[in-house]
């Protein structure tokens, strides 16, 4: 069970059960759909941007605990950040879940650290990064569907 407990940490289970910012946003400045065709997970990410600042983030959709918790934690983490800061957070997160954890400090990670167990489950990396890929696309002003495949 130890690997499992690493994967399904309390933070993840909590965000899965009670996702934050889990609603649509009629006055969003950007909205992008993200989809994983292999497992059927799909989310819509909504952004409200003011200048370079991400003022509001929300999301809707459904998927596994990892993907939903990741979208939830992401939405609270990037709120108030600039695009550049969000990009850096994504790089940090990506390194964390793909197992390249050498250069990462607890301070960089904050709540993202809850996803450290994902690196032991390569098949689940796509679940963890789906919302982030979708966010990146939204930040680049694209209005298209993002697919993990």
């Amino acid at each position: 069970m130890s690997d499992l407990r690493e994967l399904y940490q309390q933070v993840i289970l909590d965000h899965n059960k009670n996702p934050r910012n889990f609603h649509d946003m009629p006055d969003a400045t950007n909205r992008v759909d993200g989809y994983n065709p292999l497992c059927g997970d799909h989310y819509t990410i909504f952004l409200k941007r003011a200048g370079d600042t991400i003022e509001e983030v929300s999301f809707t959709g459904s998927g596994c605990a990892i993907s939903k918790a990741s979208a939830s934690v992401m939405s609270s983490t990037v709120k108030g950040k600039s695009k550049e800061e969000a990009d850096r957070l994504f790089e940090t997160f990506h390194a964390l879940v793909t197992g390249d954890q050498s250069g990462l400090s607890a301070a960089d990670l904050g709540r993202l650290a809850a996803f450290s167990g994902v690196s032991e489950f390569p098949a689940r990396v796509k679940c963890a990064t789906l919302a982030w890929h979708t966010l990146r696309s939204a930040l680049e002003g694209k209005d298209e569907k993002v697919s993990t495949e």
Binding site: Y8, C39, G40, A65, K68, A123
Partner: protein, 414 residues
């Protein structure tokens, strides 16, 4: 003792398991419990040894050389066609076309028979529980020809609505393409009735037998269908080999599909004469080891007997269903009266993907996702399901392991 109980006693699953080397390996420190047989089956020693023997003693190209090995390989290849003919009780070996699998078989029919006989405004009927492989080839054909693909609905149990189907039949329906058994739900379709009604309407019937071949004895002449497609790897044979059976008169009249070697009688730059059946549809050097491996697999299951396998698997499916009912919050998707040994389910509050990961830690392999049947998932209003599919070597103990594993899932998510 009931007939089913008697069958269970006679059926020596321990001996069968010994034929499958992979079943004794560990996965993540636990004994493998392989319940993903609807995706692909494991291979018995008899099939593995056959592949080794082919490459050790027989390898050569077929239908070409005059040397010893080429003649030997050709003989083994053609003998295998005879094994397939017997397995499905086809009238002639000419009706057995080797393909890469069910998907290629269906595409072959859609692109040769379909392109010739389906025109603008014509209809192809498929059912709501089809695998993508029996949906997309027809959509491609329909798009090219301006035809329509119409979908026979199913009830909440996952059973085809036969009255609705009979009402959908009309002179524009050229072909009805349905699965023998559903990969996602296990539903066994009432083929006899489907075929009778279609023929009365002047429509042909293609059966996607990918999930039929491993579980149900096939007699294409008794069924009365026009095409039957199945894959080797789902019936304990190698991947990359499958069969298209078609009525000789239909295959004869169909144009060839892929061009190349083996499918021709003579070639000049002005004119090419095509080879006779079944070679007309087997362009290029075929998957020879796949063909001989498939024959070994069909001989293996035939020796146990499809009736015995079906009875054993049915009993196991009923047992597993009973045990799974104990789990609070578990809901079955697909509860047809006639069912192959496939159990699809959802667990309240836990996504199937998470179930799959946690069971995997216990060494238990099930499939989670949409099972290449996305329209079906929409019909049942679920994004995905967990699917445990049982094969001829699975046991009650493995069903118990699945139940114990699901209790662990609930523990993690509580």
């Amino acid at each position: 003792m009931s007939v089913i109980e008697a069958t269970r006693v006679q059926y020596d699953v321990g001996k069968i398991r010994n034929d499958f080397p992979i079943l004794s390996r560990d996965v993540r420190g636990k004994r493998l419990v392989y319940l993903d047989n609807a995706a692909t089956t494991q291979k018995p020693r008899q099939v593995i040894d056959r592949l080794v023997r082919y490459y050790t003693e027989e390898n050569s190209n077929v239908h070409r050389g005059v040397h010893y090995l080429s003649e030997l390989a050709t003989m083994e290849y053609e003998n295998a066609r005879g094994v397939v003919q017997q397995f499905i009780n086809a009238a002639s070996v000419k009706e057995i076309v080797f393909t890469r699998g069910t998907t290629e078989s269906i595409n072959l029919v859609a692109q040769t028979w379909g392109r010739t006989h389906v025109g603008a405004g014509d209809e192809v009927l498929i059912s709501a529980i089809e695998h993508h492989s029996n949906i997309v080839p027809w959509q491609m054909l329909a798009q090219e020809k301006g035809a329509n693909v119409r979908v026979i609905p199913v009830n909440d149990e996952g059973e085809l609505l036969i009255d609705e189907y009979e009402r959908m039949l009309n002179p524009r329906v050229k072909i009805v393409a349905v699965g023998h058994a559903s990969n996602a739900l296990g539903t066994i379709n009432p083929l006899r009735r489907i075929i009778e009604a279609a023929h009365a309407n002047g429509s042909l019937v293609l059966v996607d037998g990918a999930q039929g071949a491993p579980h149900i004895g096939i007699d294409v002449q008794a069924l009365g269908c026009d095409f039957y497609a199945f894959s080797g790897h789902k019936v304990y044979g190698p991947t990359g080999i499958g069969v298209l059976w078609g009525r000789e008169s239909l295959l004869e009249a169909m144009p060839p599909w892929q061009g190349g070697g083996d499918m021709i009688l003579s070639v000049s730059f002005e004119k090419t004469t095509y080879n006779a059946l079944p070679y007309k549809f087997e362009a290029g050097t075929p998957n020879i080891e796949g063909v001989v491996g498939l024959a070994a697999a069909l001989q293996y299951v035939s020796a146990i007997g499809l009736d015995a396998i079906a009875a054993y698997e049915h009993d196991l499916e009923q047992y597993a269903t009973r045990r799974l009912r104990e789990i609070e919050g578990l809901r079955f998707i697909g509860t047809a009266r006639e069912k192959a040994s496939v159990i699809s389910f959802v667990l309240e509050g836990v996504h199937p993907h998470d179930i799959g990961t946690i069971l995997d830690q216990e060494g238990i392999a099930i499939r989670t996702g949409h099972h290449c049947a996305q329209p079906l998932m929409m019909r049942f209003n679920v994004p995905a399901t967990g699917r445990a599919s049982f094969g001829l070597y699975n046991t009650r103990e493995e069903a118990d392991a699945l139940v114990a594993g699901l209790h662990k899932v609930i523990e993690v998510f509580r």
